[in-house]
Symmetry: C2
Subunit: 456 residues, 2 copies
Amino acid sequence: MERSETPSALLVDLYELTMAAGYFEHRVNCRATFELFVRHLPPSRAYLVAAGIEAALDYLENLHFTDDDIRFLRSQPVFQSVSSSFFDYLKAFRFGGDVMAVPEGSLIFAEEPILQVTAPILEAQIVETYLLSVINFETLIASKAARVVRAAAGRAVLEFGTRRAHGPEAGVRAARAAYVGGCAATSNVEAGRRYNIPLAGTAAHSWTQIFPSERESFEALTQTFPENAILLIDTYDSLMGARTAVSLGRKIAGVRLDSGNLLEKSRQVRKILDQGGLQSTIIVASGDLNEEKIESLVREGAPIDAFGVGTELATSKDFPALGVVYKLVETEQNGRREYQTKLSEEKVYSPGKKQIFRFPRLGPYAYDVLARATENFPEGTPLLQPAMREGRRLTAPAPTAELRTRTLRELDRLPVAYHALHNAPRYPVRKSPALERLLEQVREEHLQPSAPSASP
Amino acid sequence: MERSETPSALLVDLYELTMAAGYFEHRVNCRATFELFVRHLPPSRAYLVAAGIEAALDYLENLHFTDDDIRFLRSQPVFQSVSSSFFDYLKAFRFGGDVMAVPEGSLIFAEEPILQVTAPILEAQIVETYLLSVINFETLIASKAARVVRAAAGRAVLEFGTRRAHGPEAGVRAARAAYVGGCAATSNVEAGRRYNIPLAGTAAHSWTQIFPSERESFEALTQTFPENAILLIDTYDSLMGARTAVSLGRKIAGVRLDSGNLLEKSRQVRKILDQGGLQSTIIVASGDLNEEKIESLVREGAPIDAFGVGTELATSKDFPALGVVYKLVETEQNGRREYQTKLSEEKVYSPGKKQIFRFPRLGPYAYDVLARATENFPEGTPLLQPAMREGRRLTAPAPTAELRTRTLRELDRLPVAYHALHNAPRYPVRKSPALERLLEQVREEHLQPSAPSASP
């Protein structure tokens, strides 16, 4: 069973709570829909792998303010002018909204909503920071992982990045997202427990250094872990290390190379192992690897069976943050619906609730249509699915392994051109005529004399 | 009182635990010293601000394995060959080692140990992953923050990055590190509570959109927060927004600009506010800001009082991971000391316990000497201080505000040349002759026929 922990309700930007207080004091209680999406794909990302959705739903279902949370808020100078009934409201607070989401592991492109939250404005506002943070990060890492996994072309990718992740908890989430993105295993033990991810590990240089000789260190490791020992052979000299491994005269699960020219070293080591009768001993490579280096090693035919990837994967080092935003698209009060956008040129987005249709239903993906939620395109697959109604999840969390399987299946349906690590073509996302018309309509209404910007 | 939470003992790379099991099974129980340091400074970082040390000490003091942790480990295939007395050892495990550390907020350069851990090898090994992760991340962010704060030249820097941080918990740690690095406040409420950091926030565009007019939204915010409301004035048009703020005819704490040409906009808005009698209303600027943009705005004399910085700060976007390593430098068994290093050219480091001496004791910093721990340079300040003995902290955690004060004081002592955002000179760190000799000695011993790499 995968475990979850209830995060603090104070994991939120102050302004979500001050705005909530303001809405409360002014009895603003319309129902609002926010959509969470990425305005632009980062350079050299042709697609994103949606992730963090389980964490988002988990948060929404469990969010509540403890007495200690409320005591802290009341002690803050900014809240001194807020009436005490707001804090009673927080005490009773539960998220009771509806959520649509793309299945975790789906491929997503710019402007396509990953999550759509419809709730009373206070509830929809308070959850903004947390939703952005988990979906931004897990989607970032799952997307990076997918690139690395595709580059490895069938060889296993092991996530080794916790030590360079943005703190140990980010390491756990990175491990999960990397697994959703297609990695085979992680070294993070807590992630293994929490999300049921296979664990992998080898040994460090310190292990070799502690023993009087490399040979003794190898013997000790294979004695304790007869089936699983992966010997780190580059502490002194990789080829010498490979010969020492052979000289033990026993089955060895694997060896690891962590430095030097991995193409050349892996070939030489493979030869030594094979000649020594260790044909089934695998070679694991590590050391500042990323998708470009892996693609090149694979292309050159390096006899490497698994890649350990750390820093580059757990921080998405080439592009460490997505520009995920959470935008108000629609409000409704007493049956009156208003479509919302921002009209300033650099920040305009399509108003109204949306649906993503992906074409065709079977076979390789060709294009998406971003449409109004009320539209229907029977030839396409609608991606946004009901995930939560009145604050309750509609389905049990999927096992993480299933999400990984979905990602790998989706990646296979994306034509190979989009898998180019650089300069991939742009996957076509068209806006439906009805969605385009709605933006024009909102723009025109806004230019009327009664529009907000023209108020005195 | 600043709160801490006990992290899971499984926040660790698998290999730390398999190596621990191997040491245990082979009765390897020497005392080992590991040093945690950065091999090279990232490009465009002339110094680092050491942070994450409180979190590291907190972890070391509280680390223990629960029954559930041990049950999980025993269930893993890799541990099937390990004797049950190892798990009894884990059940009783407590970190009982000694720790030297630089004070949090100290400036640190390449190869200088931030932390030095001396403990029985199993204890020193198990804690590696967590120590690397917290110190890597908090040092990364505190160092980035210091650059941003220096660029702001006395104007307040507000940390707004949680939504783009690597998960909400990374947001909390980023907020702490940013504050240690000199920021004035954070928007992350949990960070405010946990580390006693001033909170700051404004309002979002959704606030403005929800009301029938911008004017009504401004009125509502200033009514609820008469002393603190910072109005976001760029939802429709910044200048119109500024005029609307003036037209309210009341005191306004501040306005925020989040888009457009901030230099030009801030000048125009300042003029409108001043002419409207709002001379004491501050201008907060935000929107993908970083140290370069802030330096340029300050140089041009933009009338901006505070900068809200998000993504760039909370992810250290230009360089999102330090290459922090944790290396075995010394072992001791039955009074026999061995100095440890790795001799492969790309990964060599100085063996033996070290001390950092910074010169001179008073006034601007000139250079450091990296020396053996047994050396003494009375003219310099030794940076590594005893932080923990036999697993107990020697002093109570310092309030976070004190660490921030230390950082700002240290930054002032660093000559201005090193504060250039790019192409700063390299701060001189010399190695003492005794430290250089020790590396040569280890190298020579290693070339003897009895050395490990020459074993059959």
